[in-house]
Symmetry: C2
Subunit: 333 residues, 2 copies
């Protein structure tokens, strides 16, 4: 994977500076196959590397408790930018910036954006360094370009799986979004958060495509889940156990609101919330997920029961209308 900068020299300097003896290395799923190679490089710096094998979908998933349990004095977290405010264990974030040229993919995307003039840009941390260049290409093609910066994330224009504030902040001023990056996961988040047409410029495949049809499908599916949940009598409110996903207070509030609505409510806590985990509780009619909101939206067809976001639960109890929720965006929290 020469497509990414793994910053070996900085990692080495940080290890020496900290005098670390044992490090825990964390990778998101897409980069995990690189783990053995990078662990061996780190081992040459004189430390014992332990690779975290558990799923990791974001910096919300920092393996702090695991690091403490293994007596590790440094976490090297690859592929995400800092999210948790204070780490209990010293942590280096290696953002794994892509070294790919984006020009070809952006040119292809442009040919799909002829009917729009005002374009918003969004990207993941892997490509934030390309946004200046992408803006120039778009301006050269006669577009006006907006890049949001709410300072909630680390870079202007950056989005992460569950935070689209940079895109939302400029949504009113643009006709469509151009997302620079791989796959449809993040671009779909932009579309669901802003309800704007969203085109992907994918530099890995050197292709461009729209996620609008998929976004429409998700909106329809969410509506169906909310309607199904309305009929439910017994609810499970899910509390996430990952450091950046634990929202116990919100879960308690949802429990109270559902109970005021005549529902029977149970609290469930879990690290990995999967269809198999929820199937163990067949008497529960519907779940409300206060952990990663992407679980509800992206895995909906895999779950046998409705798994609502917090805002969707507010629709069920009548505190929010479906129309208002759509206006706010499905990923607002």
């Amino acid at each position: 994977m020469k497509q990414f900068d793994f910053e070996e020299e900085r990692v080495k300097q940080e290890i020496l500076k900290l005098g670390a003896k044992r490090v825990l290395i964390q990778f998101p799923e897409g980069l995990k196959p690189e783990a053995p190679r990078l662990a061996k490089i780190v081992e040459k710096f004189g430390v014992l590397p332990i690779v975290s094998a558990d799923p990791c979908y974001g910096a919300c998933d920092l393996a702090t408790a695991e690091a403490e349990s293994l007596g590790v004095d440094l976490i090297i977290h690859y592929g995400h930018s800092k999210l948790v405010k204070h780490e209990r264990v010293p942590t280096i974030y290696v953002e794994a910036r892509a070294t790919l040229n984006v020009f070809g993919a952006v040119e292809k995307a442009l040919s799909m954006m002829e009917k729009w003039r005002k374009i918003g840009l969004a990207t993941t941390v892997q490509h934030v360094q390309t946004l200046d260049e992408v803006r120039e290409i778009l301006i050269h093609a006669g577009k006006t370009v907006a890049i949001g910066d709410t300072r909630r994330l680390n870079y202007p224009g950056q989005i992460i799986g569950c935070d689209y504030s940079n895109a939302i902040s400029i949504a009113k001023n643009v006709e469509a979004f151009l997302f620079v990056g791989g796959g449809q996961f993040h671009a779909l988040g932009v579309a669901l958060s802003t309800s704007k047409p969203t085109i992907v410029a994918d530099p890995y495949d050197n292709t461009a495509f729209s996620v609008n049809r998929e976004a429409e499908k998700v909106f329809k599916q969410r509506w169906a889940s909310v309607e199904e949940a309305r009929k439910g009598k017994t609810f499970g409110v899910l509390v996430g156990l990952k450091p950046g996903q634990k929202r116990l207070e919100e879960a308690l509030k949802v429990k109270e609101q559902l109970e005021q609505n005549g529902k029977t409510v149970h609290l469930f806590a879990g690290k990995e919330i999967t269809p198999e985990v929820l199937m163990e509780f067949p008497t529960v009619d519907a779940f409300v997920n206060t952990a990663c909101p992407r679980l509800s939206l992206d895995d909906a067809t895999k779950f046998k029961k409705p798994v609502l976001t917090i805002n969707e639960a507010l629709v069920v109890v009548g505190k929010l209308s479906w129309e208002e929720l759509c206006k706010r965006g499905l990923l607002e929290s």
Copy 2:
């Protein structure tokens, strides 16, 4: 599930005694469907119950870190007896003793044990209270009966998924084992640990059956895994992150031994070790699992690569012969 004693009154008294305000409730997979009902009973005692949704396969899996993270002041752990010596969070074990009559199943088992006279008894904590009665039935049928007690577990004759010391301690003096309990998982452990014919008396289905053929299959499969691993160049040593499964020192020792044998070795740490988790590391030829040994033995066909126990790794590096390993039993640790 009126088949089990969930000790509601004791749970209530313990909650009141501790003045607990918030409890985390853990269930093994088979009892999880009972969780909502029992959580509501506990809630009536004036505490906030949170049900752990994560998989739980034994008392090795005590959700201590999760309890601390949720600010819980009591764990109620159902279905297993105490295993971890010192709990960091106050913990009640509700062993969920079965209330079933075992007579019918034992009578059926007896008809399958005509050729043996000396019988060893083994059971899970759910049925330890029946062993006196089972012994009487067997003695009445002309058998001599042995029940092991090494004091490693809480009750004479008790076995758990990874500890068969009570069965092993009497194996030399018996011709076959009678296991009292449900399913083949624990009985298979008896057969693999003792290499003795093992008959199950299952009071849930009121049936009896042998696990000998299944045990033979596992022995053959393990031999094939060891042979395949021998050819591997790159090994992954797995460290479990569950409180009762973490064996980092053993993992480091295995790493060293494999490296002395010319292998390239990586350390991986994980909470749930599944086929999907290991598939993220395609450059690894074989794994050595220092966490739950049952993962290696029971899920072998699901894993794409060999996943050896620590003793099987010793066979690979030539420190132990396959014959000696078989003599010690596949689950010796």
